[in-house]
């Protein structure tokens, strides 16, 4: 009778699927012969398989998980086989943590190991919970040489082989350098900041008035000092932020960048800081570095090639910057004595920059859109 009730109740219930099913999240990174990874397994699944709730109160505490760490490692690692060039790559657990996924708490196990030899492919056999829950799936993220691949393991597809193509360090370097150039090119705020500081480089202030410089050399050295200090400053914060040493909220950084542009341009119209603009470039360069870092973070940093990516991106930024400066300087020097340059470009241009950057500032600080594309 009970069964029959359930059957009739099935009408209207046949298409129900209320919860997320059981998955584990397996991240594996292969570099050379070294293998490392992280495996997130739902505590509910582990409890069903090996029993975690020792005191039987229906709650799984961190203490209970800790008491079973060896069991968890033995049980799960026995159901994960990595093979390279026909030989096993034995791995062992190195750390245990916890994490919350959208459907509950997970045990997080980090592991390490090594293969006997480097090979063009790695074979992964996954049979976690295959005997107790055939619906369970293992979601794999495999990282190698800066590239990421994904795979899904189920009892029907328990063993899969993944090619390990080599991405050369050089390719990676150029990829990031290109991103750096591109970012300076589309990063209008950085260009405007730099231009605001460079505009007065071909002029000199004497007796409260702007005069054209006489020779190219002083203008060149002025530009050189500004660009170098800007570069050094943003390289410092870019590196610190990309390496995760410092992190600032992006809204703050973006707003501060807008402020820096406003101030730098205002300084041309109402000069306050004069002669030591390289110090201004250094100070605000620190802030712009955080802006670059957020871009780099969005691109995704390959952990194995962090330095290559960082240096590549930074050099790309410098290259893009240099291209702008080397176009700007000869033109500005040529025009420096004209009314066009001194009134229209220098003063008018600076005011225009103040206006645009002011709008950015409002947009960014209050998270609103004034100039819509």
């Amino acid at each position: 009778m009970r069964a029959l009730i359930a059957a009739v109740l099935a009408l209207a219930a046949a298409s129900a699927f209320a919860h997320k099913p059981s998955d584990s999240y397996l991240a594996i990174s292969v570099e050379g012969t070294d293998v490392s990874g992280q495996w997130d397994i739902a505590l509910r699944d582990l409890d069903f398989a090996i029993g975690l709730d020792d005191n039987g109160d229906g709650d799984i505490t961190w203490g209970e998980v800790k008491a079973h760490q060896a069991d968890i490692a033995a049980y799960s690692l026995a159901r994960l086989k990595l093979r390279s060039a026909g030989a096993d790559c034995p791995v062992h657990a190195t750390a245990f943590l916890a994490d919350d996924h959208s459907d509950g708490a997970y045990s997080v196990m980090r592991f390490e190991g090594a293969c006997a030899a480097e090979a063009p492919a790695i074979e992964i056999s996954y049979s976690l919970f295959a005997d107790i829950d055939p619906q369970h799936k293992g979601l794999l993220r495999l990282e190698h040489g800066g590239g990421t691949r994904t795979g899904i393991f189920s009892p029907e597809r328990a063993t899969q082989s993944f090619e390990l193509e080599k991405i050369s360090a050089l390719t990676q370097f150029f990829d990031y350098a290109r991103e750096g150039v591109w970012h300076i090119w589309v990063g209008f705020d950085h260009i405007l900041f730099l231009l605001s500081l460079l505009l007065p480089a071909v002029l000199v202030r004497t007796g409260g008035r702007w005069q054209a410089v006489e020779r190219f050399a002083p203008a060149f050295w002025d530009v050189f000092k500004i660009v170098t200090s800007f570069t050094v400053a943003h390289s410092i914060t870019l590196s610190l932020a990309a390496l995760g040493v410092i992190s600032l909220p992006s809204r703050l950084v973006e707003s501060a960048i807008a402020i820096s542009v406003v101030l730098a341009a205002l300084n041309n119209v109402f000069p306050l800081v004069h002669g030591r603009r390289w110090m201004v470039a250094f100070f605000f360069g620190l802030i712009h570095g955080f802006g670059f870092a957020s871009v780099l973070r969005d691109l995704g940093l390959p952990q194995n090639a962090l330095l290559i990516a960082l240096v590549g991106f930074n050099l790309g930024v410098e290259g893009g910057q240099l291209a702008i400066v080397s176009t700007f300087l000869p033109v500005a020097f040529g025009l420096r004595a004209t009314w066009l340059y001194r009134r229209l470009i220098f003063i008018g241009g600076s005011l225009a920059i103040v206006l645009v950057a002011g709008i950015w500032l409002v947009e960014r600080a209050f998270n609103m859109k004034i100039i819509t594309p």
């Binding site: 029959l4 009730i5 359930a6 059957a7 009739v8 109740l9 099935a10 009408l11 209207a12 219930a13 046949a14 298409s15 129900a16 699927f17 209320a18 919860h19 997320k20 099913p21 998955d23 992280q38 505590l43 409890d47 069903f48 039987g56 229906g58 799984i60 505490t61 961190w62 203490g63 800790k66 943590l97 916890a98 994490d99 996924h101 959208s102 459907d103 509950g104 708490a105 005997d131 107790i132 829950d133 055939p134 619906q135 369970h136 799936k137 979601l139 899904i152 589309v186 990063g187 209008f188 909220p249 992006s250 809204r251 957020s294 969005d298 950015w360 960014r364 859109k369 819509t372 594309p373």
Partner: protein
């Protein structure tokens, strides 16, 4: 120059937006951590080890472990897990049930009881073709197998195969008691344009049947509520919903239907107390988040983010079991009409119940694309389904036609 500038500003704004979203996602998906101390509770188990049901499951599993081919034990265990899957809404239990049936899972002709159980588990994972094949074999072998006929009817209804469903219900009528046989036909008639007659038949059979179990009561009352809505009588529907709600069992389908009713009536504030403890259930969390968004409740953003990561996880897994809910999520919580329409269309290929029809009509209306919902408009014509809301949406959609 100006094109570059607008482009750049757009990019910066987009970047900012992406960053803000990313930081939200990060808070929803915290990094692995070491809990403060050993007493931190990480997880609550839905069934305590000391519960009678847990004891029974343990005993059955021990019996089965000693002899994995002991069929009656295996099927009893699978039954228990399947009913847990229904009451808890957790598909894990279906996996456990499948594991119990392992010796018979891949056989071409398993014994009858294993065959029926296998079909029930297959339909849960939306393998309707596989399930139907098994059920046809089962009813051939035993034409009086009420359970197999019921499930055939259920699957035929999900797929809008009304002729097939009628046959199933008639077969059931010969072998089953009054309420169930009438319930089957009434469910069919109530969906296909005869709601008033179906309502009468079902309420009379319900009155005749005397004392039923809470499960049966909730089922009948929910159906009566649905039929009342189709008859254009929300007041009567609410009485049935409330009566079902006060039965002493949890039923996710009732809660889902009742919440939808309240949302349609413009009473989102009443949905929140109803669903506040159902965070784990995707289908109910969706309704909770819709209500919270309408009320601009602070929890809305968090719940939308949780749903998003669950749908992402399902996509990662390659599941297509949530498409109806995912379409609603995209249409009403993200405002992503295009994706909603694509999901609703994809869903309609597999599932064709009134609620599947509704989301496809609404998504097509949002996209002003009547031809995308042509199959549903045809279905509405053919089935004679009466729901006034559905009919209204269909009219609006047809009015868009040039």
């Amino acid at each position: 120059m100006s094109t570059i500038r607008t482009y750049t500003i757009g990019t910066v704004t987009d970047c900012l937006r992406a960053l803000v979203l990313a930081s939200l996602a990060v808070t929803a998906h915290a990094a692995p951590y070491v809990p403060k101390d050993d007493s931190v509770v990480l997880e609550h188990l839905p069934v305590k080890p000391g519960d009678p049901i847990a004891r029974e499951l343990r005993q059955l599993r021990a019996e089965l472990a000693a002899n994995p081919r002991k069929r009656d034990t295996a099927i009893r265990l699978a039954e228990r897990y399947f009913s847990l899957a229904n009451s808890e809404g957790d598909p894990r239990y279906v996996g456990y049930a499948e594991a119990a049936l392992k010796p018979w899972w891949d056989l071409a002709e398993p014994p009858l009881d294993a065959l029926v159980m296998r079909a029930i588990l297959k339909q849960y994972s939306h393998d309707f073709a596989g399930a139907t094949q098994d059920l046809e074999a089962a009813t051939r072998e035993d034409p009086e197998n009420a359970r197999a006929w019921s499930w055939r009817a259920a699957i035929d209804m999900v797929q809008a195969n009304y002729d097939g469903a009628r046959k199933d219900c008639l077969a059931l009528k010969k072998i089953e008691s009054d309420l169930f046989a009438v319930g089957c036909i009434a469910y069919l008639d109530g969906t296909t344009g005869k709601a008033a007659a179906a309502y009468r038949e079902l309420s009379e059979a319900y009155a005749r049947s005397g004392d039923s179990s809470p499960e049966v009561k909730v089922w009948v009352l929910t159906r009566l509520a649905e039929m009342s809505l189709r008859m254009g009588n929300p007041k009567q529907a609410e009485e049935h919903f409330r009566a079902a709600y006060f039965e002493p069992i949890n039923d996710q389908f009732l809660l889902g239907a009742y919440s939808d009713f309240l949302l349609d009536q413009g009473r989102p504030h009443e949905v929140i107390p109803l669903l506040v403890d159902w965070f784990r259930s995707d289908i109910l969390l969706l309704r909770l988040a819709i209500a919270e968004k309408e009320l601009k409740a602070p929890k809305a953003a968090e719940h939308i983010e949780a749903l998003r990561s669950r749908f992402d996880a399902a996509a990662l897994r390659g599941d297509k079991l949530h498409q109806q809910e995912e379409a609603r999520f995209n249409l009403y919580l993200l405002g992503n009409k295009e994706k909603a329409l694509a999901l609703a269309q994809e869903n309609w290929k597999l599932q064709r119940e009134p609620r599947d029809a509704r989301i496809l009509l609404e998504a097509a209306l949002a996209m002003k694309n009547p031809s995308a919902a042509k199959e549903v408009l045809d279905w509405l014509e053919r089935s004679g389904h009466e729901d006034p809301g559905l009919r209204r949406t269909a009219q609006q959609l047809k009015a868009l036609k040039p």
